[in-house]
């Protein structure tokens, strides 16, 4: 960690090439994700957005090493991914802290697995907890924390081992709108300090734009990469930027991409033209989620 902040990182390159994942049904194999290719350059913050069930989480789980691609390859720093490892830290949507470990013990877990001695890992964990403003809660059990705190612990636990890539699967999906904004700011600040590569999955368009250097937009089943959008907003970023014309233009663009896919995802049941007559504000969420 200290080494990472001292020198610019030259690791953490993620390459997903022609990735397909299919599952077997009675009618034969069905592709959940089809020929998806993405890449994350070292230190980059990349988001994947798309309607529910488009396979964005599948893609992330494959990078984590939980799923094997049916075709194509996943590599981190040109090493093919063989299974989960501490190279790729992950934050899940469901709070995944160990309830039987205190906040500090949770953060220490990865270091303990690395075989680091107790006093050393205690110091590291405390440094990170201080960074996240959670030092006062180090001896609490996770059940005593709010959702936002739990997710902050989840993030620093994933960062504690100094992973090459941080993978986040809709980490703020269960939080209320205000907490979510604060968490986005905290994540940006941490990322700017640590410069770890980040692959972030969300269905919140505003969140994707605010956080990312680039955004991949996925189609509905089978999931494919529909578009890759660069986010040229300058850093450091602040919540106030979300009202800028530049931000809103990006938002409009991504919104129409997603909208098309969401309508496809929910099938022919809802007529796009009928919806145009209504003035529905989806708050950046896909129609499939709203319904």
């Amino acid at each position: 960690m200290t080494a990472a902040s001292a020198a610019p990182v030259q690791q953490g390159k993620v390459t997903v090439t022609d990735f397909s994942l299919s599952y077997d049904t009675l009618e034969g194999p069905v592709d959940a994700v089809h020929d998806a290719s993405i890449h994350v350059d070292p230190g980059e913050f990349i988001s994947i957005i798309g309607p529910s069930g488009c396979g964005k989480s599948t893609l992330l789980n494959a990078v984590a090493g939980f799923l094997k691609p049916t075709r194509g390859g996943v590599a981190v720093d040109d090493d093919p991914v063989a299974g989960p490892s501490a190279d790729r830290g992950m934050v899940f949507q469901q709070y995944s802290l160990f309830p039987w470990k205190t906040v500090r013990e949770n953060v220490e877990f990865g270091l303990k697995m690395k075989g680091m001695e107790r006093s050393k890992r205690e110091t590291s964990a405390r440094t990170l907890l201080g960074l996240a403003g959670l030092l006062a809660f180090e001896n609490q059990y996770p059940d005593n924390l709010s959702g936002g705190m739990k997710q902050r612990v989840g993030i620093i636990r994933a960062l504690a081992t100094g992973p090459k890539v941080l993978l986040l699967d809709e980490p703020f999906g269960a939080l209320d709108a205000q907490t979510r904004l604060i968490m986005q700011q905290i994540l940006t600040n941490m990322w700017q300090r640590l410069k770890t590569s980040v692959l972030f999955v969300t269905h919140d368009i505003d969140e994707a734009i605010f956080l990312s250097d680039r955004v991949y937009c996925m189609t509905a089943r089978p999931g494919t990469i529909k578009a890759e959008v660069a986010i040229p907003l300058e850093r450091p970023r602040h919540q106030s930027m979300m009202m800028s014309s530049e931000f809103l233009a990006l938002r409009r663009g991504l919104m129409s991409l997603i909208r098309e896919e969401s309508l496809k995802a929910i099938g022919g049941e809802v007529n796009d033209i009928a919806l145009q007559g209504l003035d529905i504000d989806l708050h950046g969420r896909s129609l499939a989620d709203v319904i």
């Binding site: 984590a64 090493g65 939980f66 299974g83 989960p84 490892s85 501490a86 790729r88 830290g89 992950m90 899940f92 469901q94 995944s96 160990f98 309830p99 039987w100 470990k101 877990f109 990865g110 697995m113 690395k114 059990y141 059940d143 005593n144 636990r157 994933a158 081992t161």
Partner: protein, 302 residues
């Protein structure tokens, strides 16, 4: 008693610290500490209202039970159910006073407790690891589960003749019955706990570099612990049921034997005494396990 409520009062009212302080602060006028103490007591009462209420109602209910028992036996009520020969609470109390002075009764109690301890300890030592391994490895589960499902519904008491044949001494067969009674609840609850482990925690551990042994030790085991303790509590209850049945049939000592012998010897007060004694011991051993559970799982909310 829960931590959140206690924490809340500490932040809302900082006075408990000053309230309990000795009157060493001479400059403070005398009535102040007293008033603070009254306030403290009042706050404590308000906080623990639910528990005090339960305690009071529990005491009243027990008293009513004793009163009903007393009246039913005093007037020798006979309404199809006959209380003619049923000992009154006073007689049982007399019996208790007499019996505690003689070593024989204490010997019965001691032997029963020893049998429970040995039988239950063996059951826990085998059933908990077996349940954990069965939960983790499908092959082991597929092999052991059918056998355990066939044996499980057989009540421990039905094992008595078989146990007498199997084991060379009476003592061993009684312990075996006790073991059998507690074994299956512990095994099944442990196994159930293993299937309830949140897969996301396993994946989180893998992402943090944990390997098989570490995942077992750091995730599966603590995640299953609440269910293990449920199994131990249930198993302890069944152990007493089985023990008493076995002692009544094949024993020469033990509290179950004491109760049965009292019936044969027409010492009716001792029957009730034996029953109450079994109840109290069962209650005590369950409470002991709950206490151990609380020590082993400081993270669990009460």
């Amino acid at each position: 008693m829960d931590g959140a409520a206690r924490k809340l009062t500490q932040t809302v009212a900082p006075s408990p610290v000053t309230g309990t302080a000795p009157p060493a602060l001479a400059s403070v006028p005398q009535p102040m500490p007293a008033r603070l103490t009254i306030g403290l007591v009042r706050r404590w009462l308000a906080l623990h209202r639910g528990e005090l209420r339960a305690l009071a109602i529990g005491a009243i209910s027990l008293a009513l039970f004793l009163l009903a028992w007393h009246l039913l036996t005093k007037y020798r009520v006979t309404a199809h159910v006959r209380f003619v020969n049923v000992p009154s609470p006073e007689m049982v109390l007399d019996s208790l006073m007499r019996v505690t002075r003689d070593n024989k009764f204490l010997m019965h109690v001691y032997l029963s407790c020893r049998r429970i301890l040995i039988g239950f300890a063996i059951a826990a030592t085998i059933a908990v690891p077996l349940g954990l391994v069965m939960g983790r490895f499908r092959l082991v589960r597929e092999i052991v589960f059918p056998v355990s499902e066939v044996l499980r519904p057989i009540p421990a008491i039905a094992w008595v003749p078989m146990a007498i044949m199997l084991w060379p001494t009476n003592e061993e067969s009684i312990i075996f019955i006790t073991f059998l009674g507690s074994f299956f609840p512990i095994l099944l609850n442990t196994l159930h706990g293993m299937t309830m482990v949140d897969p996301v925690l396993i994946r989180a551990a893998q992402c943090l570099g944990a390997r098989e042994a570490a995942i077992f030790r750091e995730v599966y085991f603590p995640a299953t612990l609440p269910h293990v303790f449920t199994g131990l509590t249930v198993g302890m209850g069944v152990a007493w049921v089985s023990l008493v049945a076995a002692e009544m049939i094949s024993g020469q000592f033990g509290i179950g034997y004491f109760t049965w012998e009292a019936y044969s010897l027409v010492q009716y007060a001792d029957i009730a005494l034996g029953m109450i004694c079994i109840g109290v011991l069962g209650l005590g051993s369950s409470a002991l396990i709950r206490g151990l559970g609380r020590l082993a799982m400081p993270w669990a909310k009460k």
